[in-house]
Amino acid sequence: MSRATTEARPFEAGRILGWARDNGVYVAFALLVLFNAVFTTNFTTTATLFNLLIQVAPVLIVSLGMALVIGTEGIDLSVGSVMAIASAIVPLYIGYGWPVAVLIALVVGTLAGALNGSLVAFVGMQPIIATLALFVGGRGLAQVLVGGQLQIISDPSFLALGQAEVLGIPLPVIIAGVLALIVGFVVRRTTFGRYVLAIGGNRAASYLSGHPVRAVLVAVYAISAALATIAGVLATARLSAGDPSTIGILIELDAIAAVVVGGTPLSGGKVSVAGTVMGALVMQVITATFIMNDLPFTYAQILKAVIILIAVYIQRGRGSV
C-alpha cells in the first residue's frame, strides 16, 4: 500500500463515521424492511403497515417532544406519567364532550411540563432530577384521579380519534405525521428552533447573544408535555378506556432511544426530526419482526440495546472537533 492511502485513512474513517451518524438510521430501517419482506410472511401488506404505524404513533409523538428537550441538552423522564394523567382526565370530563375533556387534559399536561421547565430554567435543577418528580408522582396522581380503576369510555366521537380512518389511513397515524412535520418546521425555520439549538450547543453563549434562555427552556418542557398529552389521549381512545396504570409505561425510554438512534446527540445542539421518526420506526419494526416470527420478545430487547449502543458509539466523537 502506498503512503497516501494510509494517511488518508483516518480522514476517511471520520467521514464514514460522520455519514453513519447522520444516515445510519435510514440504512438500519431499509435493512429491517428488506429482511422482513423476504422472511416474514404477511409483512408487506397494508394491514401490517397500518398496524405498525398505529402502534408507533404514541411513541413517535412523545419522541418529537423528547428530541426538542434533548436538543437543549436536557431530558424529560416525565412523559409517560403525563400520558397517564391525560388518560385519567379524559374519562373524568368526557361528559362535557370530548373537545372539553381533551382541552382540559392539554392544559393540565402543558402546565405540568412548564413546571418541569421552570425547575430547570429558574431553579437550576438538573433536567433528569427536575422531571423525575413528575415521573414518580404523576402516575400516582393519575391513578388517584380515576380511583385506581379502568374507566371505560364509550363516546364514539372520542374513540374515533384513536380508531377512525381518513382516506383509508388511521387517524393517529395522520396526527403523528402532521405533528412531525410541524416540529420539523419549528426546528428548521423558526427563531424558537434556533434558540433551542443554541442553548443546547452553548448555553452561556446563547445567553450572551441575548436569547431568552429561560423562556425557551420552559417552553420546550411544556411542548414535550403537551405532545405527551396528545399521545396519552390517542392511546386512551385506541384502548376505549382511561387506564393510567398501563398507558405510557416505560415510554420515556423508548422515546429517548428513538431520538438517540435517530442521530440526535444527548449532548444537545442538534435535533434531527426525520431521524427521530426513523428511530421510532426502527424500534417498532424490530418488535414487529420478533412478534410476527414468533421469536421470544426478550431477544428483541437485546437487539434494541445493541442498536442503541451502536448509535451512542457513533455519536461519541461529536463536540470534540
Binding site: R189, T191, R194, L197, S206, Y207, G319, V321
Partner: protein, 514 residues
C-alpha cells in the same frame, strides 16, 4: 532570609498542553517558615505550577522535590498525605456536615468497636481551631458559617494533617477585611511553626503585608524570584506585565492614530456596584472613542464589561445610552439599546461550536431577522454573505461548523455576530487573545475602522501595548474601583503601571453597605 534547605522545590519544570507551553523550565524554591508570593497574569502558569507540584499533572520535564527528596505524586491525595495541603478558592469541603467532621474528613477517629468517636472528634477539632484563634461551634454544619470562617476551617484541616507546605490560591477573594486580618494571623502562626506557605493572589497590597519572598511567572516562564522588599510595587507590576520601566513605547500593533471623538457620551455607566467585585465603577464612552480598560487580573475589568451588557448581576448602578436608562441585568435590553459584547472566553461563552458559521453569525440578530417567529432565510443569507466578506472570514462554506475554524476566524465570526446588529457601543473583552499574529493585526485595524465610523468601543486587554496604542482614553481599574483615567499623551505603559501601583485600594467589601 537565612538559606536553609528548601522544603519544596521545583527544578526546571516544563509542562506542555496541545498548542501551549504552559510551563517552560520553571524553577521554584520554598523555605520552611516563609510566606512566598506566587504572582503572574492570566496564563502565566501559576495554576499549572501548583498542579504539577500537587500531582494533578505530571511534568513533561523537570523534577519536584519535597523535603529534599524527589517526588512524583500521582494525585492531589498523595501530595496531601505527604504533607502538602492546597486551599482553593472554592473550598473543597462538605457544606452539610459539621465543622469537626470536615476537619477530620477521611481520617475520623474511631472507638474500640470501629464506630465514629464523635466526642473525641469534636474535642480535638475544637482544640485545633482554638490554637489558631478560630471561634466556631464544631458541631454546627459548615454551611452555617460565614465564608471566611469556612476558609479558616479549611486551613485548620490542612494544618491538622501535619502539612509542612500550605498552598493558598486567592484565599481572600471572598473575605471581608476583618476576616483577611484573621487569616493573616493564622498565616503568621503557620510561618512561626516552620510551615512553608505559597500565597497566590493578585491583591498586591496583601502580598506586601504578608509575604517575604516573591516568584513572578509570565507566559510560562520564570521572570523573577527574590525578596519582596527589594521590589517596589511599580517594579513588581512591570515585572508581571513584562515592561521595562524606562522602555520607550514602540509601535507594535495594528492600531493607527487617535480618532475623532464625539462630544456627548453615547454610553454612561454610573456607580456599578457588586459586593466583592465592583465598588462604584463609572465609565463614559463617546462616539468614535476607544476606551481602554486597564488593570491586573481580578481588577474587575471583565465584570465591568459584563455589568454594562447586563450579564453581571449588580447590587446598584445605572447604565444610560444616549441619555435613556437601560435596564441592567438583561442582555436583551442592552442589545436593544445598541450595546454589543464580545466575551473574553471565546470557547465557553462565545461560539456555539456545533452550529454553522451562518447560525453563529446571526445568533444575536435573530429578533431582527425574523417575523412572527419565522426566520427569513433570504435576509439571513444576505447578512451572512456580507459580513463574511467584509471581515474576511475563511470557511469552506457558511454551513461549516464554527468549531472547525481557526481561532482568528472564530473571533471574526464573533465580531460579525455583533457588527451585523449595527451597535452604537462595542465592548471587547480580550479581542485578540489566542489568535495568530496576522489575524491579530487585522482585528486591531478593524477596531480602528469601526471607531472612525463613529462606534464607541470599550476594549479590555491584558497586553499593555494594545491598550496604550489602541485607546483614546484609558480607565485604570484596581480592586473593582477606578484608580485613574488617562487620555492623549498621558497614555503610556508607565503611567498605567503608576496608577496601578499608587491607586487607592479600598479594603475588600468595606463599602458593601452592611
Amino acid at each position: 532570609m537565612n538559606e536553609r534547605a528548601p522544603i519544596l522545590e521545583a527544578r526546571e519544570v516544563t509542562k506542555r498542553f496541545p498548542g501551549v507551553l504552559a510551563l517552560d523550565g520553571v524553577s521554584f524554591q520554598l523555605q520552611p517558615g516563609e510566606v512566598h508570593a506566587l504572582v503572574g497574569e492570566n496564563g502565566a502558569g501559576k495554576s499549572t505550577l501548583i498542579k504539577v507540584i500537587t500531582g494533578v499533572y505530571a511534568p513533561d520535564d523537570g523534577r519536584v522535590l519535597f523535603g529534599g527528596e524527589e517526588v512524583s505524586f500521582a494525585s492531589p491525595r498523595d501530595s496531601q498525605a505527604a504533607g502538602i495541603s492546597t486551599i482553593y478558592q472554592e473550598i473543597n469541603l462538605i457544606p452539610m456536615r459539621s465543622v469537626a467532621q470536615n476537619v477530620f474528613l477521611g481520617r475520623e477517629p474511631r472507638t474500640r468497636f470501629g464506630l465514629l468517636d464523635t466526642e473525641r472528634m469534636n474535642r480535638e477539632a475544637a482544640e485545633i481551631l482554638g490554637r489558631y484563634g478560630i471561634q466556631a461551634d464544631v458541631s454546627a454544619p459548615l454551611d452555617s458559617l460565614g465564608l471566611g470562617t469556612r476558609q479558616m476551617v479549611a486551613i485548620a484541616r490542612a494544618v491538622s494533617l501535619d502539612a509542612r507546605v500550605v498552598i493558598m490560591d486567592e484565599p481572600t477573594s471572598s473575605l471581608e477585611a476583618r476576616e483577611v486580618e484573621k487569616l493573616f494571623g493564622v498565616i503568621r502562626q503557620l510561618r512561626d511553626e516552620d510551615v512553608g506557605v505559597v500565597y497566590v493572589s493578585h491583591h498586591l497590597d496583601e502580598l506586601y503585608e504578608i509575604c517575604e519572598r516573591v516568584t513572578v511567572l509570565r507566559d510560562g516562564k520564570l521572570v523573577h524570584t527574590g525578596d519582596l522588599a527589594d521590589l517596589s510595587k511599580l517594579q513588581l507590576i512591570a515585572t508581571m506585565l513584562g515592561r521595562e520601566l524606562a522602555e520607550v513605547e514602540g509601535h507594535a500593533t495594528g492600531f493607527g492614530e487617535e480618532h475623532e471623538v464625539g462630544r456627548e457620551p453615547v454610553l454612561r455607566a454610573r456607580d456599578l456596584t457588586r459586593r466583592h467585585v465592583l465598588h462604584g465603577v463609572s465609565l463614559d464612552v463617546r462616539p468614535g472613542e476607544v476606551v481602554g480598560l486597564a488593570g491586573l487580573l481580578g481588577a474587575g475589568r471583565s465584570e465591568t464589561a459584563k455589568a454594562i451588557f447586563g450579564a453581571q448581576p449588580l447590587d446598584s448602578g445605572e447604565v444610560e445610552m444616549d441619555g435613556d436608562e437601560v435596564k441592567t441585568g438583561s442582555p436583551p435590553a442592552a442589545i436593544k439599546a445598541g450595546i454589543a459584547f464580545l466575551p473574553e472566553d471565546r470557547r465557553s461563552e462565545g461560539i456555539i461550536p456545533g452550529l454553522s458559521v451562518r447560525e453563529n453569525i446571526v445568533a444575536a440578530a435573530m429578533p431582527r431577522l425574523s417575523r412572527a417567529g419565522l426566520v427569513s432565510e433570504k435576509a439571513q443569507n444576505e447578512l451572512v454573505e456580507r459580513f463574511m466578506e467584509r471581515l474576511g472570514i475563511k470557511a469552506s462554506s457558511p454551513d461549516q461548523p464554527v468549531g472547525e475554524l481557526s481561532g482568528g476566524n472564530q473571533q471574526k465570526v464573533m465580531l460579525a455576530r455583533w457588527l451585523c446588529l449595527n451597535p452604537k457601543v462595542l465592548i471587547l473583552d480580550e479581542p485578540t487573545r489566542g489568535i495568530d499574529v496576522g489575524a491579530k493585526a487585522e482585528v486591531q485595524r478593524l477596531i480602528d475602522e469601526l471607531a472612525d465610523d463613529g462606534l464607541g468601543v470599550v476594549m479590555i486587554s491584558s497586553e499593555l501595548e494594545e491598550v496604550v496604542e489602541g485607546s483614546d482614553r484609558v480607565v485604570v481599574l484596581k480592586n473593582g474601583t477606578v484608580v485613574g483615567t488617562l487620555s492623549g499623551d498621558e497614555i503610556s505603559g508607565e503611567n498605567i503601571m503608576a496608577a496601578l501601583a499608587e491607586g487607592g485600594s479600598p479594603e475588600n467589601g468595606e463599602e458593601a453597605g452592611e
